[in-house]
């Protein structure tokens, strides 16, 4: 297991991303942050605080649960939805910045975009991610990237945030070679266990 970011680097990275958001939005009052559950949400709140410190502007923050918009619904079992989507403001005409921890295949972002568009018509949608690990399966790219790393498909990139995990940091680990292939009780062995959504940081 290797450490990609320690807590200090983590907070400097977020701070830099917040400044980029401020720089690129002359109309900052019309922007909003929407985090993708689960770790995108605390990151969005963190960015909102840093944006306020840098510019004085309070950005509204929302949360997206993409479970109902997944495209691999037929191959994985449904997970309970405990928190759901919560966007307590109108997104019409706003610049909405979608925030997630790890950008991997791009399928989570696709689901997030579909869902956002069901909530209204934003003027623009941007994407901010803490880690871009490559291996895109869709034509999607991020506007704000904390760190780009090259990974192999089998590796796991795990983002930890204070609010949920007790400390900040980004870890990269190899899939344990001794572990048996991931088996979903209902679907049998899967060819691409890296796309199982339960573990953080490698959601499709």
């Amino acid at each position: 297991m290797g450490e990609l970011m320690d807590a200090a680097r983590f907070s400097r990275t977020l701070d830099r991303m917040a400044h980029e958001i401020v720089e690129r939005h002359p109309d900052l009052e019309r922007a909003a942050l929407v985090g993708v559950r689960s770790r995108g949400v605390p990151l969005a709140h963190r960015l909102a605080r840093l944006v306020k410190r840098a510019s004085g502007v309070d950005l509204p923050v929302g949360a997206l649960d993409i479970s109902l918009y997944r495209d691999d619904f037929t191959s994985i079992a449904a997970q309970p939805i405990t928190k759901g989507t919560h966007i307590p403001f109108s997104i019409d005409g706003r610049s909405v910045i979608v925030v997630d921890d790890v950008l991997f295949t791009g399928r989570t972002v696709r689901a997030a975009l579909d869902q956002l568009i069901d909530f209204g018509r934003p003027a623009r949608i941007e994407l901010a991610v803490l880690v871009d690990r490559g291996h895109r399966e869709l034509p999607i790219r991020a506007d704000y990237v904390g760190k780009t790393v090259s990974t192999s498909r089998g590796q796991i990139v795990q983002v930890k945030v204070q609010e949920e995990d007790g400390s900040d940091g980004v870890l990269i680990e190899e899939r344990e070679p001794s572990a048996p292939p991931a088996v979903n009780r209902r679907t049998g062995p899967r060819k691409a266990p890296a796309r199982r959504p339960q573990r953080p940081g490698k959601r499709p």
């Binding site: 405990t82 759901g84 979903n184 339960q198």
Partner: protein, 310 residues
Amino acid sequence: MSGFPHRHLLGIEPLEPSDIETLLDTADGLKEVLDRPIKKVPALRGKTVVNLFYEPSTRTRSSFEIAEKVLSADSLSIATAASSVTKGETLLDTAKNLEAMNPDMFVVRHSAAGAPHFLARHCRSAIINAGDGAHEHPTQALLDALTLRQRKGRLKGLRVAIVGDILHSRVARSNVWLLTKMGAEVVLCGPPTLIPPGIEALCPVTYRIDEAIEGADAVMMLRIQLERMSGGFLPSLREYFQRFGLDEARVRRAKKDVVILHPGPMNRGVEIASEVADGPYSVILDQVTNGVAVRMAVLYLLLGGSGGTA
């Protein structure tokens, strides 16, 4: 691992408390979809649900239909009065023929207890029990529990009185199972003729409504099911209201923040006075809204992923 380890929802009795919690939490999470500008999510796109109702229903059927539409499932409802059932087709033949059209799920209401269990043994599709005779009505108990949990913040330790026609009530049975599994204290109340023998084994019974309501956190009034009574159960509806009906004076015996539930359809002036049904403590319409959320949760957890085909 799936969040919900069942293929069918046949009743509350076979569920674990953790299953009930998963269903309620999911319903809470899904409720928000109903307030969106576009009340539709693609979760069950391409799934087909057949609503097979052998008994009349307004709330349950429309609630399932709305839940199916919001989740983007394709659904059709079969009213048996206008179907081949009137030509003498058996339940199993009807289901087998419909199943030949490849649906993923049946939502079944039937006057015979155990009809959904019978279909679950003989069909490939997932089965949801939407009420079987006087046996169980699991989604009703779940929506009652969701309403209570939203109002009280918990189920454990609540004192709940269930009053009325317990004998014919599948709602009462499902609620007794659910509430006792979740640690609530349930007391049943009704005229001796409408209390099923042996039910004392599950929870205490009283024939005096004032005793049942005393200090209650919630009172659930049940409909007098005249269509299931062959006579002899009640002297008159007027006398029933006097002895077992819920009016404002009786509500005052309960806790100050009591909530009044009724599964509907109500018989105003028989089991519940109008001023109570429309009073500030009544959560009857919340129950209806929560009904859609609960049915969305059941459909989602049973049909989501490969749940319906394994």
